[in-house]
């Protein structure tokens, strides 16, 4: 089946989810896994940086609005040691002000969490279009 093949293909893709909201994180994780992606989750910017210093996923979904270290700051720190890592900022309706800042820090795209899951899928597809092989250090 088409879906099954697709799921198989996605097996090689590693996604890191960064969001302080556990509930949302749970739904995203569930859905992405149902699509076959390998998913890791952290719930703060600090944890994300720690994680990324050790491992390099294919794509990172990074929530903009987080307490303590927000998405922009986290991204800035990530960029300090990894310029190329595809980072998708998770926004909610109305975070337009932060967009420019994120783009300046080379964010790849924006995923509006109020939108459909399939949006996420599309974005990941685009990422893969741009970048090549799946990494194998999970």
């Amino acid at each position: 089946m088409d879906d099954e093949n697709k799921i198989k293909a996605n097996n090689n893709i590693q996604v890191l989810l960064v969001d302080d909201e556990g509930d949302f994180l749970a739904t995203m994780e569930f859905w992405l896994k149902s699509q076959g992606y390998k998913v890791e989750t952290v719930s703060s910017g600090m944890e994300a940086i720690r994680f990324l210093k050790g491992k390099t996923p294919n794509v990172v979904f990074l929530d903009i609005m987080m307490p303590q270290m927000d998405g922009i700051e986290t991204l800035r720190q990530i960029r300090a040691f990894n310029k190329d890592l595809p980072v998708v900022m998770i926004t909610a309706h109305g975070d337009e002000e932060k967009r420019n800042e994120a783009y300046k820090l080379n964010a790849f795209a924006f995923f509006d969490k109020t939108k459909d899951f399939y949006e996420a899928d599309n974005i990941i597809r685009s990422v893969l279009h741009f970048f090549t092989k799946p990494k194998k250090d999970l």
Partner: protein, 756 residues
């Protein structure tokens, strides 16, 4: 060029050369230049006339017989210079050389002799001339009016006729006769009496000269003087009267000229000693002449007026009066003057110093009038000065009032001149800016504010309402704990002529205001996040379940989960609207423009709402044009906008109706404004709107009667937000409608977005 013009030019350039020689060096080019010019002019004259003679008149120059008046440039100066050097004349002949002429001119100049001069010394040149330049070979004698100019030059017997001024010398004949007269050989001269008188008047030197000449021969100066004065007494009285000349003055002039010769080596000693005897003699004769003139002036026609006139001229000094008056009286009485007349005459002499007599009453009356006048004057002066004092006081009071107001203003007031330097600032301004007025006056406004303290100043007008400019200034306080924000509202001050003379700024402390603004802004952001988070979590969870990712659902589960989902959507939209509204209120709704095809958006929205429309039994038709209509706009907001309007259409159209969405490209708005625009029309066959409500429907919280009647809920915010979105895009939105016939919502935005 006429002869005279040529002569004038020559004189001019000659003087110029003389001046330049004294300023520059001998060989300086400008000196050479002008002397060459002079040489040229000389040559021209010489070629025309063969010879050139320049002689001195009393103040004029005579060139080849032509008189150049002293009014012409250079005449007087050249005359003076030549006279100084005792050169009465010089003649130049045709063969004169440039260097010869130049040496001559140099000799005339005032330049100190230097070793550089070549040729014979200047003294020599002045005395003897040079090869082609002769000195003092010609002497012009003075003649009176109408007489010829005679020159006694052996080489040049030419005589030229012309009108000559009175200053000219005595003709030979006359002087000879005069000499004869004085030497006693004749008793009177027949001609030239007047000319002698004129000479005495204008040029006593000549008379003096003649007298002394004869004295040399005759041996007695005293005798001659007496003879001359007697002659005057006998012959010149009429002239004196006619010309109103004071004989004393005339004789004084003559006396002076004679005295000049008191050291003349050509005079014999006895004559010289007699010169000292001259003054008293002259004085005596002066008085006699005066007396005679006075008497004669009366006696001929018993003319008191004339007498008085002459007397007025002669008898000015007290000594003169005391000397002459007694004798005069006697003589006048002899001629028949009455006492009355004589007294009148005397009074006339006294003039205004005369005393008058008035009656006692007249005198007291005058005194009283004078006193009254002074009193009145004092009163008036007092009045006027009181008025001024009052005015002054009033102005002072007003000024103080204004000052007090300014001083006590809670807001800071700063006045700057057109260069930006502070003229004055009130205490509130001092406090706000943490400066002292006395230190600030005369300096630019921001000078005194330390750099660390000035965090930010919005450059340029924030809120330019024509004449007012508003800026925000952020300052850090002295102890660096608090930040202050000031609003400076400035207005330009113009004087009556319309010229800018300065600026007045009102400074308000808006720190609190800004803080509140910030708090509000934060609150909105915070709240929106707080409200959305649970909704998103719920929606996502429902989505997973409804998407069958968690397994199969039975129909009931599916039904109620769908209800939950759709209500969540509704709640979500409501919250978004409220949050958008608060952003709009705070003027914080921003657009994130991008380029996209409007048809795409229509498609997207259509897809989203398709199910809903179908459920209600409505047809949703999307008229998509084949070509792309690209627009620069905030895609999400346009989606929001269209979702709202189409949503409304679905809400308010009863089952069986239809909704149409169509986009067009336009080159001008409905009002005729040219440009590139996109227009979207959403038409429905719904319940429609009242005419009155067509604009009201866009108002905040308004729910027009139709909505209330239909019982369909809503917050009344949707269309308000739509309007704001359209207007932020610099577009326009409106509705056409008829009750129960349907509505058509139309919005138009520029293709170029906010910028065009």
């Amino acid at each position: 060029m006429t002869k005279e013009q040529l002569y004038r030019d020559t004189v001019k350039f000659l003087l110029l050369t003389l001046n330049r020689i004294s300023l520059y060096s001998f060989e300086h080019p400008v000196v050479k230049e002008s002397s060459e010019k002079v040489y040229g002019l000389f040559q021209e004259i010489l070629s025309q006339e063969g010879k050139m003679t320049v002689a001195l008149g009393s103040n004029q120059l005579i060139i080849n017989g032509t008189i150049l008046e002293e009014k012409f440039l250079g005449v007087r100066e050249l005359n003076a210079r030549l006279r100084e050097l005792k050169v009465d004349s010089f003649s130049v002949d045709k063969q004169v050389r440039l260097d010869e002429l130049f040496n001559f001119i140099y000799a005339l100049s005032k330049k100190k002799e230097s070793a550089a001069t070549k040729g014979p010394s200047r003294e020599k040149i002045i005395k003897n001339g040079s090869e082609h330049i002769k000195i003092n070979k010609v002497r012009y004698e003075q003649v009176s009016e109408g007489q010829k100019v005679v020159s006694s030059d052996l080489d040049q017997p030419q005589v030229s006729r012309q009108e000559v001024a009175q200053k000219e010398p005595l003709p030979q004949e006359v002087s000879e006769q005069f000499q004869d007269l004085l030497s006693g050989q004749v008793r009177e001269i027949l001609i030239g009496k007047e000319s002698i008188f004129n000479q005495l008047d204008k040029n006593p030197r000549v008379i003096a000269g003649l007298i002394l000449e004869i004295a040399k021969k005759s041996g007695s100066l005293k005798e001659l003087i007496s003879k001359f004065c007697q002659w005057l007494l006998d012959n010149a009285i009429d002239d004196l009267i006619k010309k109103k000349k004071d004989p004393a003055k005339l004789l004084l002039g003559l006396e002076k000229e004679i005295k000049k010769h008191s050291h003349d080596p050509s005079l014999p000693e006895n004559i010289k000693s007699e010169i000292s005897l001259a003054p008293p003699l002259f004085s005596e004769y002066s008085n006699s002449l005066r007396l005679e003139a006075l008497v004669n002036s009366y006696s001929e026609k018993k003319d008191l007026k004339k007498l008085s006139q002459i007397a007025g001229k002669f008898l000015i000094k007290k000594e003169d009066k005391s000397e002459i008056l007694p004798l005069l009286e006697e003589k006048l009485r002899q001629r028949g003057i009455t006492s009355e007349e004589y007294n009148l005459f005397l009074k006339g002499l006294e003039g205004d110093k005369e005393k008058v007599s008035i009656s006692k009453t007249e005198y007291e009356d005058l005194l009283k009038k004078s006193k009254e006048f002074n009193e009145e004057l004092d009163k008036r002066i007092k009045q006027v000065s009181e008025e001024y004092q009052k005015l002054n006081r009033r102005l002072k009071d007003e000024k103080e009032r204004v000052d007090t107001v300014i001083r006590n203003l809670a807001d800071g007031l700063v006045v700057v001149d057109k260069d930006g330097n502070v003229n004055m600032m009130n205490p509130a301004a001092e406090k706000l800016l943490s400066v002292e007025a006395k230190n600030q006056v005369g300096k630019p406004l921001l000078d005194g504010i330390k750099e660390e303290h000035l965090l930010a100043m919005a450059k340029g007008p924030l809120d330019d309402k024509g004449e007012h400019i508003t800026k925000e200034i952020e300052l850090m306080s002295q102890d660096e704990t608090t930040k202050r924000v000031l609003r400076a509202s400035s207005a330009v001050v113009e004087n009556q002529a319309g010229k800018t003379v300065g600026m007045v700024s009102v400074l308000s402390d808006i720190t609190r205001e800004k803080e509140l603004e910030k708090m509000k802004s934060n609150f909105v952001a915070h709240v929106s996040h707080e409200l959305r988070t649970p909704i998103v979590a719920m929606q996502k969870s429902l989505s997973l379940i409804l998407g069958k990712n968690t397994g199969e659902l039975n129909p009931d589960q599916e039904k109620f989960l769908n209800i939950a989902n759709s209500n969540l959507q509704r709640l979500f939209r409501l919250i978004n609207n409220i949050l958008d509204m608060s952003k709009i209120e705070a003027h914080k709704l921003d657009l994130a423009p991008s380029l996209f095809n409007i048809n795409e958006v229509i498609q997207e929205v259509g897809n989203t709402l398709d199910n809903w429309a179908k459920e209600k039994g409505l047809s949703l038709e999307l008229k998509i044009t084949p070509q792309d209509i690209t627009v620069n706009a905030d895609k999400d907001r346009i989606v929001q906008l269209m979702t709202n309007i189409i949503g409304n259409a679905i809400k308010f159209t009863p089952s069986g109706g239809s909704i149409t969405v169509e986009a067009k490209q336009l080159t001008k708005t409905e009002q005729g404004v040219p440009g590139e625009f996109v227009q979207v029309e959403i038409s429905d066959t719904g319940i429609g709107l009242q005419q009155d409500d067509l604009t009201r429907v866009f108002n905040k919280f308004e729910q027009v009667s139709q909505t209330q009647q239909s019982g369909i809920g809503g917050t009344g915010l949707g269309l308000t937000i739509c309007k704001e979105i359209v207007e932020l895009h610099k577009g326009h939105i409106w509705v056409e409608s008829q009750i129960n016939k349907g509505s058509k919502f139309i919005f138009i935005i520029p293709k170029g977005g906010q910028n065009g």
